[in-house]
Subunit: 143 residues, 2 copies
DNA sequence: GTTTGACTTGTTATCATGTAACATGAATAA
DNA sequence: TTATTCATGTTACATGATAACAAGTCAAAC
């Protein structure tokens, strides 16, 4: 996964430096959305800088290159689970267990783009995030 | 508009007190999304409290009662343009002029709900916000 | 009419999130 | 090698949000 990321970055003339790689690893390891300051604590504990821009820059870099996503609802970031092809997914966030799912949102986006077009509005970037219950938590709640 | 709001609130046993009413008026007057601190400045200048909770409480109240919406992407609030029937709209935000449009998002939501259901996920609340160009700004840019 | 209890408004204090501006060091290109 | 760009680190600050408490308002219950 990391090698793949590194290759794709190299093709774009971008480098997966130590902070950036470690940031990506941290996001991947936790398998959930993390706040920038949570990431920063981890980085600082491992000898990287301990000031906010260190984390924000690495996270911003990963988002720019499609290796991570930013979740508006949570003020948080998460590693992209399907990097590679440019994509603009929808996110499902479980309110019970914080599980995060990343779904290909083409049909939703198409519906939104069409809706917007009816008002003459051109959609460039869309945020589609849902809060609810994941299968596991829904099963536990109402078995 | 205000009278209508007051009536609907009364039916719910809630009161449109002076701070709350003034907060709603401020949102309505500006016709755009406003940060909580911007609202707070206006309130303070008119003799209301000048501490953050004053604005946050009034805004939260308005959102709870469907008179305003919160915009995740902007960390901001805007008056609801179609209050009354419960609704969960999609928002279009112009990146040039900050114009905000509020669209009935039923088709988009349906697509999202269906998509989520395929993974067994139950959607409870969804955030659908698009950034792009409004008709006026799109026309100006590429005439 | 007074008392009670829920609600509203205000405060202080603090926390969380995010960025601007600048100095230094590493990598690349000329 | 030297110039240039990019990357990392810092300080300082801006913005966004909430917890905890005190005091005032209002309407129902007595
Ligand atoms: Zn992704
Ligand atoms: Zn769950
Ligand atoms: Zn609305
Ligand atoms: Zn515009």
């Amino acid at each position: 996964m990391l090698d793949e990321a590194r290759d794709r970055l190299a093709a774009n003339g971008a480098r997966l430096t130590p902070v950036r790689q470690r940031t990506l690893e941290i996001l991947l390891e936790s398998h959930r959305a993390m706040g920038a300051y949570e990431v920063l604590d981890r980085l600082a504990a491992e000898g990287f800088g301990r000031q906010p821009p260190v984390a924000y820059r690495a996270l911003e870099f990963l988002v720019e290159h499609g290796l991570a996503h930013r979740l508006q609802r949570l003020n948080a970031f998460a590693a992209c689970l399907h990097p590679g092809h440019d994509h603009a997914p929808a996110f499902l966030i479980c309110r019970e267990c914080d599980m995060l799912a990343e779904l290909p949102a083409a049909p939703v986006r198409d519906a939104l783009t069409e809706l917007a077009a009816e008002s003459g509005f051109q959609v460039e970037r869309a945020t589609i995030e849902a809060l609810g219950l994941c299968p596991a938590c829904a099963g536990a709640a109402r078995p």
